[in-house]
Each structure stands twice: as C-alpha cells, then as structure tokens.
Symmetry: C2
Subunit: 279 residues, 2 copies
C-alpha cells in the first residue's frame, strides 16, 4: 500500500511524495512524482523517470531541477525515486560515495550490500509497476533521464530495458563507471572483483555490446565540472560512434556539476523526451 506523505499544488498540477514497503529493497521506499493537471484529470500522460546523483533523495529533483513549469505545459509526469535503500537496518558506507545515498542503480551481489541494495530491480520492475498501476501513465511513452550517478543509471537502465524506456538523456553522467574511482569503488563493493560483471552495468560497455537502441541520446556536460575526471563522456561518445548510436553530446563552457547547470538545460531535456515519446 502506497502512502501519500506530501502533496503540494504546483503549476496547476501536484508535486507529491509517496512511501511504500518495497519488496526489492526490503524496507520503506520513497519517491516523488509530479502530476500535471492532465494526469490529475485522469488523462494518460507520457512520463519520465529522473534518477538523481550521489547524496540526493526523492526531493532533490522536485526542489532543485526546475522541471515542473514546462512539464505542466507538456503534460509530462515526472517520477523521482530516492537514490538507495534507507534505514537503520540498511548497510551504510564509510563515506558519501558508497552505501545509503549511493545505490548506483544496480543489484548488489556482495555482502553486506546484497540484502537491500537492489536498485535496478526496484526502479525497472517494482517502482515501474507501482507507478504504471497507480497513475495514468501512457504505457508506450515512458522515458528516463538522470544526473551524474543517476545519468549512469538512466543510460544503463535504458540499454538494459529498451522495451520499458523509449527515450533517454542525461546531465553529466558517469559514462564509464568501470574506469573511474566512483564506479570502481561502487562496483567492487556491490558486485565484487570480477570486472566482466562490471561491464553489464557500464553505459559505455553496454553500447558496445548491445549496439544502437535509441533514435537519439542527449547528454549535456559542463566544461567546468569539478568531477569531470569521473565522467568520461569521450569514451561514451566513441562507443556510440562505433555502434552507430546517434548521440548529441553538448559541452557547455563555464558550467559545473550542480543543479544550477541542470536547471539551465532542463527545458531542452523535457522537450527532447516529449518529441521522442510522441514519435
């Protein structure tokens, strides 16, 4: 049973937060959802999952990404899950880039993480089912996007479940987690030392193995991103080119890694998805 824990009128729609007892995460899970006026009236609407980055929660997107205004105009539902399992019973990490707030959108296979850290199943199966059953989502018009760790999540879940996600974009995604410190730390903890396993959860490796699956992918990247060395957009670009996967990768002078960058290009992403989902 879902429980509504917050609801705020916003641009003639509603920004809400729900919690429910998640089987995959074995505990309470929260997610945010923006329902445009059309959805409140019961009209089927295209929808986007937004996956947030390290340290973020289900509220980050709703407060900081400035997406509701245009989503209301376009009639888009926006779903923003939390970034990991939470709670006292859930293993915590030794720092902000592992453990709670840092689920990396994969299913952990290693102790102590495997017990609760099943974020891939949570997003792509459980939450996907919950929202499509509970709200008027247009089933063939669901896209996914995200930021940083959540950009990695969006790209990898899109390539793993192209039948579920029709469009994909990202802000400053971790494009090749097998080849950067954040990803190496998360993957060795959650998946163990076998790097063949890592490649199943690495956007660059997935494009190489699966080939072109989307009409187009949009990525925005700040040129002054303080975490640029973790992100490797050039490797993903190279892999897309080799696979024939159309990619628009824009690098923006002066912009950094944060939400002031994201809000600047949010409208472009919503327009991009709206066109792709309508096609």
């Amino acid at each position: 049973m879902m429980e509504l824990i917050q609801a705020n009128r916003c641009f003639d729609g509603e920004q809400r937060i729900y919690t429910f007892n998640s089987k995959s995460l074995k505990g309470q899970a929260k997610f945010g959802i923006f329902l445009p006026h059309q959805a409140l009236m019961g009209q089927p609407c295209p929808a986007l999952f937004y996956l947030a980055g390290l340290t973020c929660t289900e509220e980050t997107f709703a407060i900081k990404a400035h997406a509701q205004r245009l989503a209301a105009q376009l009639g888009l539902i926006l779903i923003s899950p939390d970034t990991s399992p939470r709670g006292e019973q859930v293993a915590a990490g030794d720092s902000w880039d592992i453990g709670q707030g840092a689920g990396f959108y994969i299913n952990a296979t290693q102790a102590p993480w495997a017990e609760h850290y099943q974020m891939e199943s949570f997003i792509a199966d459980e939450l996907y089912a919950v929202v499509t059953q509970s709200f008027p989502l247009q089933a063939d018009a669901i896209g996914i996007f995200g930021h940083s760790m959540g950009g990695h999540g969006a790209l990898t879940l899109a390539f793993k479940y192209p039948e579920k996600f029709k469009s994909v974009s990202a802000f400053a995604p971790i494009c090749a987690p097998s080849q950067c410190p954040w990803g190496e730390k998360a993957f060795s903890n959650y998946l163990g030392v076998d790097q063949a396993e890592w490649k199943k959860h690495d956007a660059t490796a997935l494009v190489q193995s699966k080939g072109a699956l989307f009409q187009e992918i949009l990525i925005d990247q700040g040129a002054k991103d303080q975490f640029y060395s973790q992100l490797n957009p050039a490797l993903f670009k190279q892999a897309c080119a080799a696979a024939g996967q159309s990619l628009t990768l824009r690098e923006h002078a002066g912009y950094d890694h944060g939400y002031y960058f994201i809000q600047t290009f949010m409208d472009d992403h919503l327009q991009f998805h709206s066109v792709q989902l309508d096609a």
Copy 2:
C-alpha cells in the same frame, strides 16, 4: 571587503553568494545575487531585492524559487539577503519564529536584540549601497519583493523607502504583523510593548498613514495556505482601497504557503516588476 564564496554558471549568467562584514549587523552577512549575462558584460540592469521568510537563508531563493530562467531573459539582477544576523555572538530565539532566521526586516530597539538585529538598516542602506556600488544596477530601476515574513519586509521597506524601491510585490505576505501571533511575538521582542511603534512597521498601517505610493502592487496568496490566519490579506486590501492604492490581490485555489506555490507564480512577478521598472 566583499568575499565571493560561491559562483555557479546559470542560464548564461552567474548565481553567486558573497559575504562581507556588516556594520549594521555587527558581523559577517551573506547574500545571494543572480547576475544575468547582460550584467556580467557590465551593462546596467534593473534589479530586484527578494526577502525570504522565516527559517530561510540567502540560498533559499536561488535554489527553490525558480526565478533565474526568466530573469536571464529579462536581464534582471536578483539580490537575496539572509533573513537575520547570524553567529554565536548573536542572540538566538526560543523557537524558529524569533531570533536567527527571523529578523523581520526591522531595527530592534530592545535588549538582547538591538545589538545585532538591524535588518532594516542592513537591507535599505548598507546592502543597497554595497550592491549598487559593486554591480551594474540601474539606479532608478530597483524593486523589491518577498515571501511571508519577507513579503512583510518588502511591503514595509517599499512604503518606508519609495525613493529606493520603484516596484513592490509579495507572495503570501504577513500583511498586518501587529494583528497576528508571529508579528506580535516579533514586535514585542524587538520593539517593546508600545504598539504605536509597531504601526511604523506594519504594511497595513503604513498604507493607511502614507497613502498610495505605487502605481500598482501585486500579491499572490494560496487559498490552502497553512498559515493563512497569520497573513491577513483582507486587512491590507481594505487599507489599499481606502488609500486609493491600486492592488492586484490574487487568491489561488489549492495552493499552500511553500515554494511550489512561489515557483508557480514567480514568472508573473518578474514580468510585473520588469514592466514597472521599465516605466
């Protein structure tokens, strides 16, 4: 000497936070400022002071109000001061509606507050001088707006300093602080028991005593505002009508007191000020 403590590229402009040693507050004071591209190029721009509500800081507006996109288009500078003096040496209150985070934009006359709580002088004199000297503000095109306690601050400072603020608007302002629990607590602490003194800092009383000073005032109010009983928009409307002060007071069904309400109507306020400041 101002010190830049944060700068983020945003909509081709910059969202910044500065700190400086304030004479009025006797301590370090922070403020946020959004400089649109035009201002970064040195071009004189109209500007708005935004005064935030109880518990907020200089960052609240920049993160939650979603104003930068249209401000960038309109070429508006946005200045968002902190809501009170801060620090260990500054008197703290017994709860969130008094003391730090609750300066009420007045000059306190009573101990222990008078030593640092001089927010009226800080905003209208000191910070006003700092920003007009340091950034390319168009001197005859400066407006003021705010939310809740900051809506009270915007309305009262506009009526006290009409030569400094050419336009004024507010979201869910405390319209008659002399007649509501928040205002009674703040004014009796900061100003003492003499209610004649309170009237000098009460928007409704100021319209009555000063008469019509602005071409128009815009106020947006949520009908589901959880603090409605503290706000008294009807008293302000009545005073404006009696004084011949033109007022657009809009009540919006379903909206509450928070920033999801504010972001919904932010564009209307920026457009309103842009027109008034250009006149």
